[in-house]
């Protein structure tokens, strides 16, 4: 009989640290129940979900400074995770708000109970994923968010393209997670453990064959890779992004990507980080595999393919999908340097990326509400028909391009800083050339809005002040953080330390 008392104590203690997640579970249930109970109020699920998320935020905030390894090493709570959780939480809140204003969703179903419920569920999955320090836990969390997102992507199920997106997503996702679990099994066979900390200990005290480690590592990477849409695991992205409701596309492009990056970096650092040798500028990775190089190659492929793919697109969602692939490439660049600078660059980038990408999607959604089109060719004259939205979209797109004085520039700045600091000049050059290419398709949208004159004087598009306010709430920080970014950078640097046990 095993002695389980200390574990029980640990579990009980851990429950105290688990408040945000617990809140999410409760919210999940309440949303579902309220929605089922209340027949009249259409938006009760919306309000429940919002309240729940906000409470989650409060609990999350209380965890500031906490560094804890709980649930028998299954979960880590640290500032790194907290940062990502905030990103995920903010995106969830924003996406729920977006959904409230989405004609696409509101007209498809009379009630969106399951929708909000699933978003909460997905948030929960991502929260777990961010903190997971056990391969099984990682797998389970990925599956939680995946399954929610499969359904959300096809939520407008009568729409053909949504159901197609959902199908492709589920098949691609299942294959990826299948490959991943196979990889996990190989890693398990090599080290005899599923816990990242134990794997780390094993690797630092034993010599392991490189080839199976690489094989298993790559297979696991495919699980992360498909979450962050890195080449060659990106194929689902354009199709699903185009087919899914815009809100979900936005959500996938930010939150699920954030979770993917969070777990990927945690996985690398926790499992493979060895004792410091020489300068602390790069992680001393165990296992004799040049992960830096692998990720760098993936980064180059990802951004190049993403940008080249985006050049062709007229559909805004599809274009933004490719663009999000490209951004994953930039982020991978920062990951590839395999040091804490890279981590903090990713954090900084992600915060800004969240603002600008969600902003862009929201504008696209608002425009599509009125125009019933996501095609950028139909945007001509928009600069005059809806000045505020158009200006905001310009801000977001310029920020996505990475030009000052926008937040996107600061993000890029830090990514390149991290890359150059480690001396990978070639990678940085590829990166900047890519951002030049990206300019072309972003500016194409701007061109359509401003440079193409509308023949007939079409009416102005009128939006409610609330929606405009929400857009501005995203656009103004995008500009402001471009000029004064100290708080975010400080926060990111504070959070850039991944908990390594003890």
């Amino acid at each position: 009989m095993m002695d389980t008392s200390h574990i029980t104590a640990d579990l009980i203690k851990s429950m105290g640290m688990f408040l945000p997640e617990t809140t999410l579970i409760v919210t999940f249930l309440l949303t579902m129940i309220f929605d089922m109970v209340s027949k009249k109020s259409k938006q009760i699920a919306f309000y429940t979900a919002m309240v729940g998320l906000i409470i989650t935020g409060i609990f999350l905030f209380q965890q500031t400074g906490l560094s804890y390894k709980g649930f028998a090493n299954l979960l880590v709570i640290d500032s790194y995770g907290q940062f990502f959780k905030f990103i995920i939480l903010i995106s969830s809140i924003l996406v729920i708000i977006f959904s409230y204003f989405s004609d696409e969703l509101q007209s498809a179903h009379s009630k969106l109970g399951e929708y909000y419920t699933l978003i909460i569920g997905m948030t929960f999955g991502m929260f777990l994923l961010v903190g997971s320090s056990n391969l099984i836990m990682i797998y389970v969390s990925i599956e939680i968010m995946s399954i929610s997102s499969y359904i959300l992507a096809g939520y407008t199920k009568e729409v053909k393209r949504a159901s197609e997106a959902s199908l492709k997503y589920v098949i691609f996702g299942a294959v990826s997670s299948g490959i991943m679990i196979y990889g996990i099994s190989i890693l398990f066979g090599l080290t005899g453990s599923l816990n990242l900390f134990e794997i780390n200990q094993f690797l630092s005290s034993n010599k392991v064959d490189t080839l199976p480690l690489l094989l298993g590592g790559l297979m696991i990477l495919s699980g992360f890779g498909y979450k962050i849409s890195a080449v060659p695991f990106h194929f689902w992205t354009p199709d699903v992004y185009e087919g899914a409701p815009i809100t979900i596309t936005a959500y996938l492009s930010v939150a699920s990507k954030a979770a993917g990056f969070a777990v990927m970096m945690r996985y690398f650092k926790t499992a493979f980080y060895g004792p410091i040798i020489g300068s602390a500028d790069a992680w001393n990775l165990l296992g004799n595999i040049d992960w830096h190089y692998v990720i760098a190659v993936l980064a180059v492929l990802t951004m190049t393919l993403g940008n080249l793919g985006a050049l062709w697109q007229d559909n805004m969602k599809r274009m933004l999908a490719y663009s999000s692939i490209a951004h994953a490439g930039y982020l991978l660049m920062a990951v590839s340097v395999m040091n804490d600078n890279g981590v903090s660059a990713v954090l900084i980038y992600f915060f800004f990326y969240m603002l600008m990408n969600l902003g862009a999607f929201f504008v696209v959604q608002l425009i599509s509400n009125k125009l019933k089109s996501e095609n950028s060719e139909d945007y001509s004259g928009l600069g005059y028909r809806s000045p505020v939205l158009a200006v905001c979209l310009v801000v977001f797109l310029i920020s996505l391009t990475g030009l000052p004085p926008t937040a996107g520039f600061i993000g890029k700045l830090y990514v390149f800083t991290a890359v150059l600091k480690s001396g990978y000049v070639w990678l940085a050059i590829v990166g900047v050339l890519n951002s030049v290419v990206s300019l072309y398709y972003y500016v194409k949208v701007i061109r359509n809005m401003y440079l193409r004159d509308v023949d007939s004087k079409e009416s102005k598009l009128v939006y409610s002040p609330v929606t405009i306010a929400i857009v501005l709430m995203l656009a103004i920080p995008t500009l402001l953080f471009g000029m004064f970014f100290t708080p975010i950078v400080d926060w990111a640097n504070y959070s850039a330390h991944i908990f390594l046990g003890n």
Partner: protein, 546 residues
């Protein structure tokens, strides 16, 4: 005391346009036709007022500037310095990241500030003719103004880069919305070209930051501030050469030097008149200024290594630009603006050549040439604008005999043309002579070849002059431009155009005879600059250097 005034004048001169933008955006659109016209006029005059205030401030700076303080790499002798900690983030692994709000002037930048203020003010006049989306136009215009001023004031690389990029978008819109038939193409070409240049600059900037631990341009000029093990540490390393080339290409695109110049003819041809004026008058200068302020002094060793190459590029630009301007002759539609655009390539090549010489004459000549070219080309573009507004064509073959129809205009035009071909008595002459004198000492052969531009310049300019002004007036322009006399009361230049053109002409003539007011500003700084570079560069005296 000279050089110090208790007033953040650089902040004011840089950010005044913000005030303008706010006012412009807040001016309500009129309800009826009359109201709209009123609102447009308010916007125009507000912009004029703002740029005028800037001009006044620029002159305050000019008169309070002490040329004895040299600046360049000596932080103590910069003037009107404003230094505030701006971004101060702590990175445990990297150390503090410090970005400063650091503005200041020395002899290299004061002429540019003056030029920017003058050109921005003058270019408002031709902007009065813009009737489409006036509010947006002037908002963009002022934003552009802000960016340009900022570039010349900034002493922090980050700040510099910020202002540098800030100009891209307004420029894109200004060309793209208010431009000619191929505006889309020209605008995106401009955008992408300049972005290609600036992304390399970004990388170098980051590298420099790592090597010195600061974005302070002045500190970067001092080799001691580079950590020896850092990426740009040491001297004459491949990475330093690469970085220099990156910066150089970034700036050369803006200059524009051969072979990075092809955006210029397109951008000029499509841009509306005032934007061409600014483009040629100020924007091109930023490239050369960037080289002086950043690329050369921070990487003097690399400059020494590439010096001859830069001189070659300068020479090729000079001759090539001139030939292309002349070649307008036969290929495609002969466009007046394109001719001037190519002449800009040629004239800015002189700036490169002068800087490459690393002789005081050459450097002073180069800066003075920047100033002069700014004024002269601005004038030329406005002159093109005058007839374009009336005839709606810029084809050189469409005109003839205008001297008879527009005598005053022809007189002004002649001044600009003669100034452009470096006629003595005009400011362009002095700068050209200085550049050649300096360049000859370091690169005699290249300079002699460049001298061909003296002939070619005369050839294309006089050819254009002849085409437009001499000979017989073509059938369709026989009558008055505007038979109804609503828009143009007379055939000759109107008051507004005179107000814009004549001051420039006076500047050209005045500086041609008495260049000291501008030369004195920079002499000290240039000598300091050359002292800084001296250990690394080749400073002529024999035939060896080509």
């Amino acid at each position: 005391m000279l050089g110090t005034i208790n007033f953040p004048i650089l902040t004011w001169i840089t950010f005044l346009p913000i005030l303008g933008i706010l006012i412009v955006l807040l001016v309500p659109n009129g309800k009826d036709e009359k109201g709209q016209e009123l609102s447009k006029n308010i916007i125009r005059w507000v912009s004029l007022g703002i740029t005028f205030l800037q001009l006044v401030l620029a002159f305050v700076i000019y008169f309070n500037f002490n040329p004895a303080l040299t600046g360049v790499n000596d932080i103590k002798t910069f003037q009107f310095v404003e230094k505030l900690s701006w971004i101060n983030a702590h990175l445990p692994m990297v150390g503090d990241i410090k970005i400063e709000y650091f503005l200041g002037l020395d002899g290299l930048s004061v002429p540019m500030i003056l030029l920017t203020a003058i050109i921005c003010f003058i270019a408002v006049f031709p902007s009065f003719g813009i009737n489409k989306a006036v509010k947006g136009y002037f908002a963009m215009y002022l934003l552009l103004d802000l960016g340009m001023m900022g570039v010349f004031c900034a002493l922090d690389f980050f700040l510099f880069y910020l202002f540098w990029e800030l100009m891209l978008l307004p420029m894109y819109f200004l060309i793209g919305i208010w431009g000619g038939p191929r505006k889309e193409y020209a605008a995106i070409k401009f955008f992408i070209y300049t972005l290609v240049g600036s992304v390399f600059m970004l990388l170098v900037m980051i590298g420099l930051y790592h090597s010195t631990g600061s974005f302070n341009i002045i500190e970067m000029m001092n080799g001691h501030n580079f950590r020896p093990d850092s990426i740009f540490g040491g001297l004459n390393t491949t990475i330093r050469y690469t970085a220099f080339m990156g910066l150089f290409i970034g700036f050369a695109i803006k200059v524009p030097a051969f072979p990075f110049h092809t955006w210029l003819p397109d951008a000029h041809v499509e841009a509306p008149t005032p934007i061409s004026v600014i483009l040629a008058g100020v924007l091109l200068k930023m490239g050369a200024y960037g080289m002086m302020r950043i690329a050369f002094p921070i990487f003097p060793d690399a400059f020494g290594y590439f010096q001859t190459l830069i001189a070659w590029i300068g020479m090729i630009s000079i001759v090539y630009g001139a030939f292309c301007a002349l070649g307008q002759h036969k290929v495609g539609k002969r466009d007046f603006k394109k001719l001037i655009a190519y002449s800009s390539v040629s004239h800015m090549g002189l700036v490169l050549l002068g800087m490459a010489s690393m002789r005081p004459e050459g450097m002073v000549g180069a800066i003075f040439q920047m100033f002069n070219h700014g004024i002269i080309t601005a004038m030329l573009f406005m002159i093109v604008g005058v007839i374009y507004d009336r005839a709606h064509t810029r084809g050189l073959d469409d005109f003839g005999g205008l001297a008879k129809k527009m005598p005053v205009y022809t007189g002004i035009m002649a001044i600009a043309f003669f100034a452009a071909i470096g006629l003595p008595g005009m400011s362009g002459f002095i700068s050209e002579v200085l550049v050649f004198l300096g360049a000859f000492q370091s690169y005699p052969v290249l300079t002699v070849i460049s001298g061909l531009s003296i002939i070619l310049g005369a050839a294309y300019m006089l050819w254009a002059l002849q085409k437009i002004f001499f000979g017989a007036i073509p059938e369709k322009w026989q009558g008055p431009w505007d038979p109804t006399h609503t828009k143009y009361k007379t055939d000759d230049v109107n008051m507004l155009e005179k107000v814009a053109l004549i001051p420039l002409a006076i500047i050209i003539l005045f500086l041609g005879v008495y260049p000291n007011p501008i030369l004195n500003l920079m002499t000290g700084s240039v000598n300091q600059f050359i002292e800084l570079m001296r250990p690394f560069v080749y400073i002529g005296g024999s035939l060896v250097g080509m």
